[in-house]
Amino acid sequence: MLRLENVVKSFGGVVATNDVSLNFSAGSLSAVIGPNGAGKTTLFNLITGHLVPDSGRILLEDEDIAGKPPVDIVRKGIGRAFQIASIFPSMTVEQSLMCAVASHFRTSEALLSVFPPSDVRQRTEELIELLGMGSVARLLSANISHGDQKLLDIGLALALEPKVLMLDEPTAGMGPEERWQMIGTVRRLWEQGEMTLIFIEHDMDIVFEVAQGITVLSYGAVLAQGTADEIRSHPQVVEAYLGTETQAEASQ
């Protein structure tokens, strides 16, 4: 589905993405983990067109999308949500989603109808139902809770019915209970959506519980990619990243 081949990106002297080759199979649910500064968000920015790789190929269904502008990549089916919820503060939740749906329906430059066109309204209602945001639909995006803002951000990406949905820390800034609730929603959306989902996450409990495949980044390079069990027992990962925790568990 999504394949990276020898992707390199450096900023000045810092190599943020160092010869990364990865494969995300169609319909999979994968997590990207790694310490701060490991290049997780940079990797997302490269895939979604926010950054242009210095070299290497990024293949979406065998088409090289490396270096294409975000608009094109979105149209090819890669949607993303952001670490800090990227929303439209002065619009209501409903209006924001309608705008995203209109864009997906290629009617965002339409002039001959009053906003929203009926097909957009209908699809948005389904989407609000799916997200479970009915109670906040008519509130301004600026006025809803942090968790709802993160969910709205995901909803905006979901409105595009992406083949690949990339979530940059969907649980960032949340309390433990809220985290599990959010990741439960993410998983439900993935199960219902027939899409490849890739998310960045810091909470190891969540990652091992939810993700089928895990990619570990360290200093911009891929340390390991595999199933949860493979990662748990991967010697380098244990040493470099999980270290103490797993050893502590083993010694118990």
Partner: protein, 337 residues
């Protein structure tokens, strides 16, 4: 057809507004309401079209009056040319209007393609720079534009379709129709899906791009349409004053339009019109007492900005939205309990 059905409510309001304007202009046996309203049509179109950029798209232009002036000058220059009126005869006025609007639109394509890539202060200052460039051209190209004297000697207007724009009643109705038609075009622009895409760009252009919106193209379309509508404002003022003057292209003209928007409100469709009316009345009233109009108006604007911290209609809208949001939030809380 779909347009007529979809926007039937707005079209009816526009029609009612036009009838009202015509009734005021023709019903009152005095030139003042006609003159006052005609100047509002011109200034209102400048301010409203500028607000499509400022209020709806988040692009604060300091150089919008350039397009206003360009419309007026193209219109005036064409009609002052004997070759033009000789060749087109009765068609002179409509063709001059069309050329003024389309010509300004084409100029705006070039300027916009350069400017809309930038945002915030960079956009503001580049538009200002292009406006002052035009101002200098008008001042220095004396043979064509009359330099600092402006287009002198009046603008001939051959009668077309029975409309004689030298007649003050005909002229008033003609300007009112142009004004209402342009307001309606802006209404369609802002209430269609396109208009909501403008709001997306204003709120968060990066996110809009990641949702598949071609931000550059949408901004450019908005820039060109709003410039063309400003040109119509210039044409109205050229008809009204029977000339065209370099001050129209001076930065203060853009500044006045921004004052109107700030005074009336930038998040309500008709806010800039209210601002235009308020500023004009204020100007006329103050002028009766003192010649230091700028100082007095400056103080009033300062009070609005510091007191309300927004335009008059924005203040009303925010109050209403906050009330509604609080009610919805309360309903949610009750629902959860």
């Amino acid at each position: 057809m779909t347009l007529l059905i979809e926007f039937r409510r707005d079209l009816l309001i526009a029609l009612a507004g036009l009838v009202l304007l015509v009734a005021i202009g023709l019903g009152i046996d005095h030139a003042w309401p006609r003159d006052f309203l005609t100047s509002i049509f011109a200034a209102g179109l400048l301010a409203m079209s500028l607000n499509m950029l400022i209020g709806y798209t988040g692009l604060v232009s300091f150089g919008h009056a350039a397009f206003f002036a360009m419309g007026g000058y193209i219109f005036g220059l064409l009609l002052q040319s004997p070759a033009f009126t000789g060749a087109l005869g009765a068609g002179s006025v409509p063709v001059a209007l069309g050329v003024a609007v389309v010509g300004t639109g084409l100029y705006a394509v070039v300027i916009g393609a350069i400017c809309v890539r930038l945002t915030e202060i960079y956009f503001a200052f580049l538009t200002l720079a292009f406006q002052m460039f035009l101002y200098s051209v008008i001042l220095s190209w004396v043979d064509l534009t009359g330099g600092d004297q402006g287009l002198m000697g009046g603008i001939p207007r051959p009668i077309f379709l029975g409309i004689d724009l030298a007649d003050q009643y005909h002229r008033y109705v003609f300007c009112a129709v142009l004004f209402v038609a342009c307001v309606m075009i802006m209404r369609i622009m802002t209430e269609s899906p396109f208009g909501y895409t403008l709001r997306m760009i204003r709120d968060n252009a990066t996110r809009a791009a990641f949702l598949g919106v071609n931000v550059f193209r949408v901004k450019l379309i908005c820039f060109v349409v709003s410039s063309s509508i400003a040109a119509v404002g210039g044409v109205i003022l050229a008809l009204f004053t029977s000339g065209a003057y370099p001050e129209w292209a001076f930065w203060a003209q853009s500044g006045e339009a921004i004052f109107m928007i700030m005074l009336g409100g930038l998040n309500v469709f008709l806010g800039p019109i209210l601002g235009a009316v308020a500023l004009r009345i204020l100007n006329d009233v103050v002028q009766m007492y003192t010649s230091h109009t700028e100082i007095v108006i400056g103080v009033v604007i300062m009070f609005v900005v510091l007191g309300l911290r927004r335009g008059i209609l924005d203040f009303v809208k925010d109050w209403w939205v906050e009330k509604q949001q609080a009610r919805l939030a309360a309903e949610n809380r009750n629902g959860q309990e």
